[in-house]
């Protein structure tokens, strides 16, 4: 696989959330607006990049049997770093994402990538993979956030284009599930074609 493919596969063909349906919780919980979705996506991307890099760097230093705990430690470290940094420098986003920042640690994409890709590939491939997957995730969250924001509050990126409210359900839990459901269906269709 060349690096371009390696990078782009995360967007449609192997999109973590839209195809593999991993990391559904943050995808639902943090997409009540586009900005939040993107923020969450970027935070995840950072962790993914970091953990992929470290894991592929250390892949030969880690005996097989402890690889999972080792990966978890690496991932958790990056997550905590993100947590602290966001708390310090982007407090409003930090508050909006709340508990879902520490929860990046259990996002299956991160561990999955470390396990399935980074522990078997070179550093550079792993970085590209992490970036692709992370940005694919980010893009999906951004689009989902945008859809929910447009429908739910009649705004985009916080900029309102209608007076009054939108279809409120879309910024609430049910709307999140339903919107993601249709989004996955559409991506399935696109991937098939």
């Amino acid at each position: 696989m060349n690096q371009v493919q390696n990078f782009t596969k995360g967007f449609l063909k192997e999109n973590p959330i839209l195809v593999m349906v991993l990391g559904a919780c943050p995808a639902l919980a943090t997409t009540s607006s586009m900005i939040n979705g993107l923020g969450m996506g970027l935070a995840t991307t950072f962790v993914l990049l970091g953990s992929n890099t470290v894991v592929s760097l250390m892949k030969n230093l880690i005996p097989d049997k402890v690889r999972i705990p080792a990966f978890i430690v690496v991932i958790a470290t990056f997550v905590t770093i993100v947590d602290l940094v966001m708390n310090a420098f982007v407090p409003s986003l930090y508050e909006a994402l709340g508990i879902f920042i520490p929860l990046i640690v259990v996002n299956c994409i991160v561990l999955g990538r470390a396990e399935a890709f980074a522990s078997k590939n070179t550093v550079w491939s792993s970085v590209v993979d992490g970036a692709g997957m992370g940005l694919g995730f980010t893009a999906a969250l951004g689009v989902l956030g945008a859809i929910r924001e447009i429908l739910g509050s009649g705004a985009i990126g916080g900029f309102k284009f209608i007076s009054g409210d939108g279809i409120l359900v879309f910024i609430l839990a049910p709307g999140a599930f339903i919107a993601l459901g249709y989004m996955i269906a559409i991506v399935k269709k696109i991937n098939k074609a």
Binding site: D165, I167, L168, V169, P174, I178
Partner: protein, 333 residues
């Protein structure tokens, strides 16, 4: 040989009952209630009903034609029933565009997404209704007050529903007795003189429709009766326990969507259990959840939610409550 014969497995007879006949039977049963709401709400009722029915049918047709690419099935009449019941569940001054969104949700999301007639686990009209209620709380809770036939549509005078008055009042610390003076009498409630969703108001007309459906064997008594009984029982107990904060069972039975829900919506075949025992459990569940929401929840009315929640349990009920099989099982060597 003069002609080619048709060959099919037996049986070679079929009852005259068809899906279409059942659906139009429900439509006929809904006519008295429709007449009542036109009488009380006038033009608004007509506009809302027409918009809802037409848009439900249109959504079904368009989804099948352009998205699913299957044979259009609108003539089976189920979309008409959904349209009517959606209209019955909203205020008669609801703007047309909101009704259309409701139809898209009811038919497009709650029905066609699952595979159309017969596949949907949730009652389409109620999904539409609850979706609208949560999305457009303002429009969905400004209830026109009943009056003689009125030609206005959006400009209707609005007021609270009896249940709304009750819930608000009790929360504000008023006694039920004093609140009862602010709401119509039980007799007025029975004939439908109250604010509320378009089709839910006239208990008398709804019961008439229910009797028709029972007579035509479109529905069986199990669901409506178990809902009404459990509501009466539960509210009765509360009322006896403390009549100053809980209203009497009669009031609960005649207000809100209980009658409409019990007779027309909880009985939807697709989303209700298959066995009589299952139906009774389902009905009791609806009754209990309704009272729970009405008395302790944020919403003054809970029938729609209760039915949707029990809809979710229907597959489990069907799975674990089976009809009595003929003959005990024996081991064969």
């Amino acid at each position: 040989m003069n002609n080619i014969l048709n060959v099919s497995p037996s049986p070679h007879l079929s009852s005259p009952e068809t899906t279409r006949r059942l659906m139009y039977g429900v439509v006929i049963a809904l006519v008295p209630a429709l007449a009542a709401s036109i009488y009380y709400f006038g033009m608004g009722a007509i506009i809302v009903t027409l918009t809802s029915v037409l848009s439900c049918v249109a959504v079904e047709y368009l989804v099948q034609k352009f998205i699913l690419k299957t044979k259009p099935s609108v003539k089976d009449g189920s979309a008409v029933v959904t349209g009517l019941l959606l209209a019955f569940n909203v205020p008669s001054n609801l703007p047309i565009w909101i009704i259309i969104i409701g139809a898209i949700i009811s038919i497009g999301v709650a029905k066609m997404t699952f595979g159309g007639l017969g596949s949907n686990p949730f009652n389409p009209a109620l999904v539409g209704r609850v979706f609208l209620l949560i999305s457009f709380p303002v429009q969905m809770t400004s209830w026109p007050v009943p009056s003689g036939f009125r030609t206005g549509y959006l400009d209707a005078v609005t007021g609270a529903t009896p249940l709304g008055i009750l819930t608000e009042g009790v929360k504000a610390g008023e006694s039920v007795a004093s609140l009862m003076e602010k709401v119509p009498t039980h007799m007025q409630l029975f004939y439908g003189y109250m604010g509320g969703s378009m089709g839910e108001i006239a208990a008398a007309a709804l019961i008439l429709g229910g009797i028709y459906m029972l007579w035509k064997k479109i529905i069986s008594w199990h669901i409506p009766v178990s809902i009404l009984m459990s509501v009466a029982l539960f509210t009765g107990i509360l009322w006896l326990a403390d009549p100053t904060i809980y209203a009497d069972p009669g009031f609960h039975l005649l207000t809100g969507g209980i009658m409409l829900g019990a007779i027309f919506m909880a009985t939807d075949y697709v989303t209700s259990p298959m066995t009589h025992k299952g139906m009774i459990i389902y009905g009791v569940g609806i009754g209990v959840i309704t009272v729970l929401i009405r008395t302790w929840g944020a919403y003054p009315e809970g029938v729609s939610f209760a039915i949707l929640i029990m809809n979710a349990f229907v597959p489990l009920l069907n799975m674990y409550i089976k009809p009595k099989r003929f003959g005990k099982e024996v081991k064969h060597g």
